[in-house]
Structures are given as structure tokens and as C-alpha cells.
Symmetry: C2
Subunit: 173 residues, 2 copies
Amino acid sequence: MADDSDINATAASVLGFLGIGPMTGWDLNDFAQISVGNFWSMTRSQIYRELRTLEEKGLVEGEDTGFRDQRRFSLTDTGRARLREWLREPPGPEINRNPFLVKLFFSGELPPREVARLVASARQLHEEHVARYEEVLPMAEELSPFAAATARYGIAVEKAILAWFDEEPWRRA
Amino acid sequence: MADDSDINATAASVLGFLGIGPMTGWDLNDFAQISVGNFWSMTRSQIYRELRTLEEKGLVEGEDTGFRDQRRFSLTDTGRARLREWLREPPGPEINRNPFLVKLFFSGELPPREVARLVASARQLHEEHVARYEEVLPMAEELSPFAAATARYGIAVEKAILAWFDEEPWRRA
DNA sequence: CTGGGCATGTAACTCGTTACATGATTAG
DNA sequence: CTAATCATGTAACGAGTTACATGCCCAG
């Protein structure tokens, strides 16, 4: 018998974004992608679905913008209260799916040439990640010290990954 | 019209594990958790489901162990071929869900005391992660140089995270 | 004024999680 | 010998992804 105020992490994070200011579903998606996209993935479809149920629960409210079927949502007072409650619950476990690392793990099945390609293109991607994080850092700093901290987290991790790439004895194995 | 040989990443990784040697669903789960659990999450239920469909497709075959309903699965030749194909496809994007970082991102909504608690317990967890990775490293080294590389990846990333924790000006904000 | 792309939303499907069922094993 | 726990599997549900529908806007 789930409490009606029960909310999943995706929905809760939507509340978080609306706490920053009113947004349409589309804006919400854009904003989420650039701000937390690297450590919190969600899709547009999910956002729309959660907005609907959050509205039913009275945690957000939408007003028509007059443009298409577009609606702009904002947090209600109960919504903000619910957000704060959620923030105070201990965070669940980290969940990662890193297809590159799994493939690397099984690379005994591959000829060395293929492994080299796999590694090279993954390294390339991580270089791009660092660049992108450094690009958003100023925006994050402007938004809040916490946003800035998460951006620096990303940079720190990505740099460690690049260092790992460079220290592994790829040419030997 | 999905090609019948189409297989999802979870199923493909199951093939990978069976490439190491025959295992029951249970073993498979244990092994996956300790070896790649931190960057490749999957649940027991999924494993059983994928085993069933992989068997239907002839990529694995199971024999009764005589113990309960337990069955031990092994890779067929087509299974190994399919595994190699999958390994050579470019890996999909990394997907992460880090509830700690999202909560931190929105921590402007929280009183500083609460933020401190959030951060402290997250740091604690990552210390445990480092310890666990270092514990499995010897086993990984024994298994394969690639397994070892992924373990070192974990250590490198976790240490970078700890350094980040220590450099952030938590007391100021 | 039209065709191609983009903004916006929904529906259908697949994947991942949680809850349950049940038979073995072990501690007391 | 019996209660508790663990090993093993399945089923039901909720979350995430992909595919699609439609209307707006801009380039030619």
C-alpha cells in the first residue's frame, strides 16, 4: 500500500529542477542534460510522464503557454516540501553501466588489434568529456556552489580516467 | 523486424561470463557482482531471463546438475561467435545514476548541517569502495590482464573521488 | 507556398526491480 | 527435530527506451 506521497528518484529530481525556476518539459530536458546528464541520465519521455503524475499529486502545476500544447510547470509549496524531504533521505546506491569496461573485461576474446581500437576510441571520448565539463563549469559556478562542486567532480574523475589510460601497459598485453 | 541474432548488452555480457567457463545462474550472479558489479549492474532475475532466451536461440546450453532445479550453462560455438561479434561493435554510451551527486546538486534546498551529513556518509562509502577494489585486484590479475585493468580503473577513479572530497571547500559554503 | 527539419508530446515495448514461492541446509 | 536461513527460480510490476504522430517554422 504505497503512500501516495511516494515518489521515485527521477520524479524527485524533476522537482529539484523546477525548484530552480518554472520550465516546460523541453527546457527541463535540455537543462538536465547539460547540468547533470553525465551522472544522472533520464529521457524526455520519462520527464513528461513524471510531470503528469506530479501534477496529479499536486506537487507541480502547469499553465498553458499558448504556444502549441506546451505547458510551463512550477513547483507548488507541497512540491517544495516533498523535494526537501527527499533530499534528506539517504541517497540510494550508485548505478553504472559502462559498456566500454565490460567489453574490455572480456577482451581476451579479441585480437589485440581490435582491443587497441576499442581503447583508443574510448580514450578519445573521455578527452571530449573533460572538455565539456570544463565548458560548463563557469555556468555551474554561476548557478550554485553545489552545481560547481558536481562539475569539478566530473573533471576530477575524467582526468583520473585519462591518467589510467596512459598508465596501463596497453602495448604489452 | 529484429534480426533473431539481436541481443542486448545484458545478455551479451552473460555470454562473456560463460566464455570463462560453465556456470549456473547463481554462480553467474556472484561472479558478475564481484568482478564487474561496480560498473555493470544487473540483477539475478535478469540473468535467469536472459539465460532462458539465450538457450532458445542456441547460444548457450544448459545441463541439469541433479541438484534441485539447478542447471549449469555453457557457451555453444555459435554463442562464442556471437560474443565476439558483440565485442567488436562499438560500445554504447556510459549510463550513470548517482543519487548522491544529484542530491548534492540540489543541496541549496538543504540546511548546511544536512549537507554535511550527506557528504560525510558518501565519502565513507567511497573509502569502502577503494578497499574492496584493492581486495579484488589480485583475483582480477589472476584471471586476465584485462580484468586487472578494469580493477585498476576502479581504484584510480575512487581515489580521485576521495581527493575531490578532500579538496572541496565544504566548510565554507 | 511547399517540403524538410525541429519542437512537442504520447504510445508501445523492453529492460530492470521487487516480491514472492519453495526446497535444501544448518544451528540450536 | 524444528526453526531459521540460504539457494534457486519465477512472476508481476515499475522504470527507461524507441518509435511514432503532429503541428510549427524557416529556407528555397
